[in-house]
Structure formats: structure tokens, C-alpha cells
């Protein structure tokens, strides 16, 4: 800066000296002083342009000139604040949202499972199996003898851990239990994975021989949920499949083992405990055929993962020879892979799903990036075109093209840097939000992505921002002043297409936003809750895998059901079966009504309903009767809902008509004969949306009981729990929630799921509004001269504005028309899954269309109105 000023001053001084000398020389030849000065100046040339050239020749002082450029750029931005702010916000959103999405995808695909630190020395020893039919080997679990052989490779591995996981019944004390995960681990499991326990000393090393170690480390989630994070949990006992085990530690928050499964309430037990807690045989740990282990290891210092592969592969090949013959002629191998979420699951479907998800996310990411960049570039093209005259003037004053381009570059950099720092803020809050929402994800900011995204944004901005300018610098000044509109016509057509796509995409995303708002509102005033659901409590029991037979448990459940029915304050208790079946079904050919079209093989959801179920659920019978003892001998009795009766048989009496499985051919078996029709105002949790719902009398092996109380059920929970414990202390209770509470829970899940889509809906709306705005503003800027002529020839302001306004409106209407089916489809899906009342959907879709039109209207109107402010005199003179 100072250097530049000094250099300018020196240049000035030098040139003045030159002029002084020349003047003196000319005066010596007899000219007067003023004549001499004029002649000297003439001889010298134009001082300003000379200085500009000289500055260019000086070249390398680019840092100072960039600062000057930046100041010039800032002045320019201050003149167009709205556009500048829009561009910065757009870029920042684009960069921030993209990088956040990528961080999530990246975390899912390439990071170690939650709670395990990234560490190159930590590897998974992965068994592989290849069949002649499949080109790529699949991951397989390894046998215990193989694990031992892997562990013996001490020249490769400093330590090796193996584990096998299963689900178990956890019994945590009086009438409290849960189905959870159990992982049986070898010594040093936590050491190898580098996991430090939150509490406790951990599993003791197993003695060479002797009694099994009945100790357990519990997961943080289990500690939180079942022990209310009590600090004195170490030393307490819990029962794993009815075997008492002492708690010796609590795993850190988030850590849930290496393999991904659905249990976050989990225990880790020493391998030796497995003989007592699981039904097992002497072959479990002895046979090469018994493959149930996964393994991880810490590499010896200096050993690369690939060095270990041949040894492991050789062990696996030898192990394959020890197994019984495999009919598929598969071959065993093994390799060493990083410990990632992605390559932990041996099931290929999981990988595929993961990649599909990652692909979709990456696609959305790219789409947002492209839309952002095109919108920004439209704005930039508009700006650059508007500045052609300014550029031409600078050129004619003697600035070089290089100089002008550098000026524009600097301005773009300025934009990008501002947007980039704003994007970091957006990114930070997004990552924080997602980390809080999904603690299992280890979100790490991926710097290369951030840089790539910023680079991409800058590159697009440069290409689009500079190409018109370059064009301008190549043109003769007079050409620029004549304004060549044709060059950009093609581009603006492309831009229009993009805007249409954006508007079209906005609608389905807005549906999610609408659903989100509706659900949030419903949540706020509790509108959807039927009073009866506040009075129904669902008690779920944990089936234990050992000890009692299913029939014994069934007897327990029936006893508890009867006991609860006699409790004061309880109206009714009915056992319920927890599972449902979806089957293909059709109407028996003899029971069809002429004039009604029948679909073969529609989806039918079957659910068991014990006597008293319908009364308890407040589902009155419209026709026929209950599935009770009077149906004895008629195993095929079914109760259907009124909507199904109406759809299949119209106004005819449905009682006695038959539903067949499959497509209704004679070979198919019967599902049931309709004996009753109920009116079902609110659906039970099990309604699966598509297809019909029937109730059958089969309620054997129920694992839950519905209890209806006289008043609100919530205050009675502890009372009911106590009664259950007194009746059957050995049967752990895993949950007691009112139906209203579980409704609220599932709504909360949907709200959470739709909130992300809702946010992207807002983003899409914003983006398409900007896109529309940019297109119209650009068109107005391009056609200033035409507007001037039209106004001069007597066109009214309104007509001129209309010219542009209708063009923009046309784009948004086309987009609306294309997006409508997409929006309706999204609405159908959302209303199904969220259980929104059907009455609200037409109103919602109308509202969404109205919002899109309104926003489109505004985004078009604001720039179009600018056309009216064009002064014909000014427009024609300057253009």
C-alpha cells in the first residue's frame, strides 16, 4: 500500500522532471515558457495514460493493486447492496448446506463406528467367502479356531480381539426388563478398540481355567434409560437370559460395539459367560464350522495392513479344509480392512442400502450446488453486462485487459471469501444440530470438501462473471455502446429452463414443510388425541429365551390380564399379540357382487384381537359380533372395518362372505369368514396404510396387555406395575406407555424426519425465487434500450412492466404445472405415513400452490417494476 503510493509518487516526480527539462530545452530555443510547456507536454504524450501503462509495466506490485481492486470492488458492491447480499447468502447457503450434507454422507460411509477413534493401526480382520457364481467375495464371520490362529500372529498384530453378538432378554430388577444386545468378547476387547469406559474397571482378564466370569459392561444408553445414570451402578447385578451378572463398567456415550444393530441397550460379557447365558454346545468354540466371530486387531508398529493379508488368507484357506464340505463350492479367504461402519456388516443388503442412501444424498448435494451456482451466475452475468460501459471507459483510458480481468477476479474472490466465512457459520450450526440429533454419527468437517465446494462456487462465479467482461474487453468501445443483446439470448433460455425445474422441485419439498407445520400445530394443541387413548396403557413383556416354555408364559400373561381386570380404577384389561402379518388376499369368487371390480391379491394386514379388544379400543360394532367364545369351532371368523366392507361389497351385507389367501383360485386356503364389521374412528398403531385390515381370534403367545382405566392412565402406571410384579415377578416388563404417549412419540419422530425435508423445502423456495428474480432482472437490464424506445413511442408503464412480469409469471406457472403431480405424490406419501386427516390434504396442496404462485409473483414483480422506472431519454442517450 505505502510502497505503491511511494512508487506512484516517484513516477510522478520522474515524469515532472522530464517535462521540466524538456520545457527548459525548448525555452532555450526561444519559445516562451507557456508555449514550451505545452510543446513539451505534447511531445511527452498523455500523462495519465502513460502512468497507467507504466503501472502495468511495473507489474509485480500486485498485492497493492489487489487491495486497490478490493476497495474499488467494495465501492461497487455498496452501490448494489441487494444483489450483493443475495449472492453472498446464496453462495453461503450452497456451500454450507452442501458441505454439511457431505459431512453426513462421509461420516456414514467412511468413519469408524461411533465411540471408536480413527486410528490407522486399528484394523478389522475380515473373513471372506467367494462362490464361483459371484465375482466379489462377501464378508463372513470366522470360527473360534481361526480367531485363535489370527491372534497367534504376534509378528503382525500387537493384540487381537474377537466378539460375537446376539440378542438377549435383560432383566433389570422388579418387573423391569428389555430386549437388548449382548456382545461376548475376548480379553482386551476394549483395549484393542481403544475405548475407555466411562465408569468402572472393565471386564477382568479371564483365568486360564475355572468358573466362567459373570461380569458385564453395560452401554451408556442402558445406563441412562434403566438406571437413570446412577453413579453407583457398578457392583449391581442384572440378569442376562435369567443368569445374574455383576456390572463392572459403563461404556462411553455413543459406543455401541463395532457392528451396527438396532440395540443400543447392550451388555458386553466375557466369552466364558456365554456357556451359561446362551444355549450352546461343546462345538461352539471348537469347530471350524461354527463361524460366529468378528475380529479386530492392533497392528505391530511398522506393519502395514497389506503385509498381514497373505498370512490371514493362508489361515483361512487352511480353515476351509477343516470345515464340512460346502455344496456351493465356495472358497474362504480373509483380509485386513479399516474399521469402518461401512465394511462391518457382513450382510450385503446393508452395504447396498448405505450406498443408495449416500448416492441420493450426493445427488441432492450436487443439485443444490448446481442450482446455487447457476443462480449466482445469472446475477453475475446481469451485473457484468450492466458494467460493460464502465469497462469500456476504463479500456479507453488505457487500462489493459489483464488489469480489468484482475479487477473482476478480485471482486469475485471478495464475494467468495465473504460467502465462505458465512458458510462456515451455517456449516457449524448444521453439524451441531445433526450431532445433537443423531449421536451415533461422528460428524467431522471434511476440509477437502469444503475447499472443493468453495472452489467450485468460485470457479462458476468466475466463468460466468468474467466471460461477459472478457467479451466486453475484446469489443471496440463503439460496439459495446451499441449493446449486443443477442449474445446472451441463448444463455437466458437455459436459465429459464433451470428456473422452471427449480419451481417444479419446490412443490414436493414444500409438501414436507406443510406437513411439518401441520403436525407441529397438531402437536401443540393435541388435536388428534382421542380422549380414550389417554386412558389405555400398553404393557409389554420381555420373552425370555431360557426357562419358561411359551405355554407357561402364555398362562402367566392370561393370569396377569385377569388380575389387572379386577384392579380398582381399571375398566378392562385385554392381552394383545404384538405381531401382525401382511398377506396377499382376494375375495372368494362366489362371494363377489356383480358390478364391483375385484383386485386379485390385495394386501391384507392380519392382527389378532382377544375378546374385549374392540370394546376396549372404543370400536363399536356396526354389524355382526365380537370374536369371542361363541366363535368356538369357527377358527376362521374375522372382523373387518367398515371401509373394507364398503369397498368390497358395497351396500350388500358382508356377514358370511369369505376372504381367500393368494389370488382366490380353488387351491388357495381360506383366510376367514366375516362375522363382524366395526367402525374405526382412529386407527390403532398397527394400521399399515396400504391395503385392508382384518382381525382374527388368534391371540396365542401374546406378549403385551392393554389396560383401560377409568381416569387418565398415566398416574396409575406405578400402581399397575406393582400389581404385575406381585402376580409374576419372574416376567420382566419392558414398557408401560399410554397409547396417547406413543402416538405423540411417533409424531415426534415424523416431525423430526420432516424437519430436514421442510428446511430443504424452504431452501428450494428461496432458491427458485432468486432464480426467477435473476432471470427477470437480467431481461430488464438487457432490454433497457428497447424499453426506452417503447416508452418514447408511447407505451404505458403498465404495459412495459407487464411485458416482463408475464414472462416471469409464465415460467413459474409452467414450473407449477410440472411440479403439481410431484407435489400430489409427495402429499400422498406424507399423509399416509404421518396419518394426517384426509380432509386437510386438498387445502394443503392448494395452499402450497398459492404460496409458490405468490412467491413467484413477488420475485417477478420486483425486478419487472424496475422497467417502469427507466427514463426513455436516459436509456436512449446512454445506450
Amino acid at each position: 500500500m505505502f510502497l505503491r503510493r511511494r512508487l506512484d509518487r516517484e513516477m510522478q516526480e520522474e515524469m515532472e522532471m522530464h517535462l521540466a527539462h524538456a520545457t527548459a530545452r525548448l525555452m532555450a530555443r526561444g519559445l516562451t515558457e507557456s508555449e514550451a510547456r505545452r510543446a513539451a507536454r505534447q511531445e511527452f504524450g498523455h500523462v495519465d495514460s502513460l502512468q497507467e501503462q507504466a503501472r502495468d509495466a511495473r507489474g509485480s506490485r500486485w498485492i497493492e493493486s489487489i487491495i486497490a481492486d478490493a476497495r474499488y470492488g467494495l465501492r461497487h458492491f455498496r452501490r448494489t447492496p441487494l444483489t450483493t447480499v443475495t449472492m453472498i447468502v446464496l453462495l453461503a447457503l450452497g456451500i454450507g448446506v452442501n458441505t454439511a450434507l457431505f459431512a453426513i454422507v462421509h461420516s456414514v460411509v467412511t468413519l469408524p463406528p461411533a465411540g471408536i477413534a480413527r486410528d490407522d493401526a486399528l484394523v478389522r480382520l475380515r473373513g471372506l467367502v467367494a462362490t464361483p457364481q459371484r465375482q466379489w467375495p462377501r464378508a463372513r464371520e470366522i470360527s473360534y479356531p481361526e480367531l485363535l490362529e489370527f491372534s497367534a500372529q504376534t509378528q503382525l498384530f500387537a493384540s487381537v480381539a474377537g466378539w460375537t453378538s446376539t440378542r438377549v432378554a435383560l432383566d433389570l430388577g422388579p418387573a423391569q426388563g428389555v430386549i437388548g444386545g449382548a456382545t461376548y468378547v475376548t480379553d482386551r476387547y476394549f483395549d484393542v478398540l481403544g475405548v475407555r469406559l466411562t465408569l468402572g474397571s472393565g471386564l477382568p482378564r479371564s483365568p486360564a481355567a475355572g468358573a466362567p466370569q459373570l461380569t458385564a459392561v453395560i452401554s451408556h444408553a442402558l445406563w441412562d434409560v434403566q438406571y437413570a445414570s446412577a453413579p453407583d451402578v457398578v457392583g449391581k447385578t442384572l440378569k442376562v437370559n435369567e443368569i445374574a451378572v455383576t456390572i463392572v463398567g459403563v461404556a462411553p456415550r455413543g459406543f455401541n460395539g463395532v457392528d451396527v444393530d438396532r440395540f443400543d441397550q447392550r451388555v458386553w460379557l466375557p466369552l466364558s459367560a456365554r456357556a451359561l447365558t446362551e444355549s450352546t454346545s461343546q462345538y461352539a468354540f471348537a469347530s471350524y464350522d461354527s463361524a460366529m466371530f468378528s475380529a479386530a486387531a492392533r497392528l505391530q508398529p511398522g506393519v502395514q495392513a497389506r503385509h498381514a493379508v497373505p498370512t490371514l488368507a493362508a489361515i483361512a484357506t487352511r480353515a476351509a479344509q477343516e470345515t464340512t464340505e460346502r455344496p456351493d463350492r465356495s472358497t474362504f479367504s480373509a483380509d485386513v480392512a479399516p474399521v469402518l461402519i461401512e465394511n462391518e456388516a457382513p450382510q450385503p443388503w446393508f452395504e447396498n442400502e448405505l450406498y443408495a442412501m449416500a448416492g441420493v444424498a450426493a445427488g441432492i448435494t450436487l443439485l443444490i450446488l448446481i442450482i446455487t451456482c447457476t443462480n449466482v451466475s445469472t446475477l453475475l452475468v446481469g451485473l457484468a453486462v450492466a458494467r460493460r460501459r464502465e469497462i469500456a471507459v476504463r479500456l479507453s483510458l488505457g487500462a489493459s485487459r489483464k488489469r480489468i480481468v484482475r479487477q473482476l477476479l478480485t471482486e469475485n474472490m471478495l464475494l467468495a471469501v465473504t460467502a465462505g466465512s458465512l458458510a462456515l457459520g451455517i456449516l457449524g450450526s448444521l453439524l451441531q444440530y445433526f450431532s445433537a440429533r443423531f449421536p451415533a454419527l461422528t460428524l467431522v468437517l471434511h476440509w477437502p470438501t469444503l475447499l472443493f465446494t468453495i472452489g467450485f462456487a468460485i470457479a462458476t462465479a468466475l466463468v460466468f462473471g468474467i466471460s461477459p467482461a472478457l467479451h466486453a474487453t475484446r469489443l471496440a468501445v463503439s460496439d459495446v455502446l451499441k449493446n449486443s443483446a443477442n449474445a446472451v439470448a441463448r444463455r437466458s433460455r437455459l436459465q429459464s429452463g433451470l428456473v422452471i425445474v427449480q419451481v417444479a422441485c419446490t412443490q414436493p419439498l414444500l409438501v414436507a414443510l406443510g406437513a411439518f407445520l401441520l403436525l407441529t400445530m397438531a402437536e401443540a394443541n393435541g388435536a388428534r388425541e382421542l380422549p380414550v387413548r389417554e386412558r389405555i396403557l400398553r404393557l409389554s413383556f420381555v420373552p425370555t429365551s431360557r426357562g419358561a416354555s411359551p405355554d407357561q408364559i402364555n398362562a402367566d400373561i392370561i393370569r396377569i390380564e385377569q388380575r389387572l381386570g379386577t384392579l380398582p380404577g381399571v375398566e378392562k384389561a385385554v392381552r394383545q399379540i404384538n405381531s401382525i402379518w401382511v398377506v396377499a388376499a382376494s375375495v372368494h369368487p362366489a362371494d363377489r357382487i356383480p358390478g364391483i371390480e375385484y383386485k386379485e391379491g390385495f394386501n391384507l394386514t392380519r392382527q389378532g384381537a382377544a375378546p374385549g379388544y374392540f370394546e376396549l379400543m372404543n370400536m363399536p360394532f356396526v354389524l355382526g359380533r365380537e370374536l369371542d367364545d361363541r366363535n368356538a369351532g369357527n377358527e376362521n371368523a374375522i372382523v373387518i372395518r367398515r371401509d373394507m366392507a364398503r369397498a368390497l361389497w358395497g351396500q350388500a351385507n358382508p356377514i358370511g362372505r369369505r376372504i381367500m389367501s393368494g389370488t382366490g383360485s380353488p387351491a388357495d386356503s381360506m383366510i376367514g369368514v366375516v362375522t363382524g364389521v366395526i367402525d374405526d374412528p382412529g386407527h390403532d398403531q398397527f394400521s399399515l396404510g396400504d391395503g385392508y385390515h382384518v382381525f382374527t381370534p388368534d391371540v396365542r403367545y401374546s406378549m403385551s396387555i392393554l389396560v383401560r382405566t377409568r381416569g387418565p392412565a398415566e398416574p396409575m402406571i406405578s400402581h399397575i406395575r406393582a400389581a404385575v410384579m406381585a402376580e409374576a415377578p419372574h416376567l420382566p416388563l419392558s414398557g408401560a406407555t399410554t397409547l396417547a404417549a406413543s402416538d405423540a412419540q411417533s409424531r415426534a419422530r415424523i416431525i423430526q424426519a420432516t424437519s430436514a425435508a421442510g428446511a430443504s423445502g424452504l431452501l428450494a423456495l428461496f432458491l427458485s425465487a432468486i432464480g426467477l428474480y435473476a432471470v427477470v432482472a437480467f431481461a430488464v437490464g438487457q432490454r433497457t434500450r428497447e424499453i426506452g424506445i417503447r416508452t418514447a413511442l408511447g407505451a404505458k408503464r403498465g404495459e412495459v412492466v407487464g411485458l416482463f412480469f408475464y414472462r416471469g409469471l409464465k415460467l413459474s406457472l409452467i414450473g407449477l404445472a410440472i411440479g403439481l403431480p410431484l407435489g400430489l405424490l409427495a402429499l400422498r406419501i406424507v399423509s399416509r405415513t404421518a396419518g394426517m386427516p384426509h380432509a386437510s390434504t386438498p387445502a394443503l396442496s392448494a395452499l402450497i400452490a398459492a404460496v409458490v404462485v405468490l412467491i413467484g409473483f413477488l420475485a417477478t414483480w420486483i425486478p419487472a417494476r424496475r422497467a417502469a422506472t427507466v427514463d426513455p431519454l436516459f436509456a436512449l442517450r446512454t445506450e
Binding site: M11, E14, H18, E43, F44, G45, Q53, R58
Partner: protein, 110 residues
């Protein structure tokens, strides 16, 4: 602007400047006078091309500038040749001489 004078051949100004500065370090104004004096007013180099050329050469490290005083006591920027400048001059001179020799030969033949 220049009333008389032959237009300068492309690229020769650098050579002229380097050659004159090798003879004696001097300032910009002196340089214009010398060019005119030596070439007997045939070449008229105006300041508009001289100064950018000087800055360019300085930028490339072929000449360097120091502040000195002229005979009549004014502060002036004095340019002198650097070592790379000397080498560049020798190279350019050699190629120029070869070129002009060849040209002269052609002109004699036809």
C-alpha cells in the same frame, strides 16, 4: 506526435536502452536526448514508450534504478545496467547483428 523520425522496429527499443545504459548510467530524460543525438534525429523515441520500457526492464531485473542528481542539481532517477542486463544485451546484440548481416546480404544480392 513526433514530427519527424523513422518508426521504431518492434523490440529494438529494449536493445537501444540497454546499449546506451551500458555506455553510461543515466536518467530517462537524458536517454531520449541521447537517442535523438546519436541517431541524428532519425529515431524519435517519445517518453510515452520510453518510460514503460524502462519500468519493464527494471521489473525483469535487467536494469536497476537509483536516485541521483543531475548536473544542474535536480533529483533524478538514474538507471544502470545489471549483470543479467549485460548478458541480455550481449545476446540481443549478437542476434541483431546476425539478422542485420543476413538482411544486408539479401539486399545486396537482389
Amino acid at each position: 506526435m513526433a514530427p519527424t523520425g523513422t518508426p521504431l522496429l518492434q523490440g529494438t527499443l529494449d536493445l537501444i536502452v540497454l546499449q546506451l545504459l551500458q555506455a553510461e548510467p543515466t536518467n530517462g530524460y537524458d536517454l531520449t536526448l541521447r537517442i535523438q543525438a546519436i541517431t541524428k534525429d532519425v529515431l524519435n523515441v517519445n517518453a510515452g514508450s520510453l518510460y514503460p520500457a524502462l519500468y519493464r526492464l527494471e521489473q525483469r531485473g535487467l536494469i536497476k534504478a537509483t536516485w541521483g542528481e543531475t548536473e544542474n542539481g535536480r533529483r533524478a532517477k538514474v538507471y544502470s545496467l545489471t549483470a543479467p542486463g549485460r548478458k541480455q544485451l550481449a545476446d540481443q546484440r549478437e542476434s541483431w547483428e546476425r539478422f542485420s548481416g543476413a538482411l544486408a546480404a539479401i539486399l545486396r544480392v537482389t
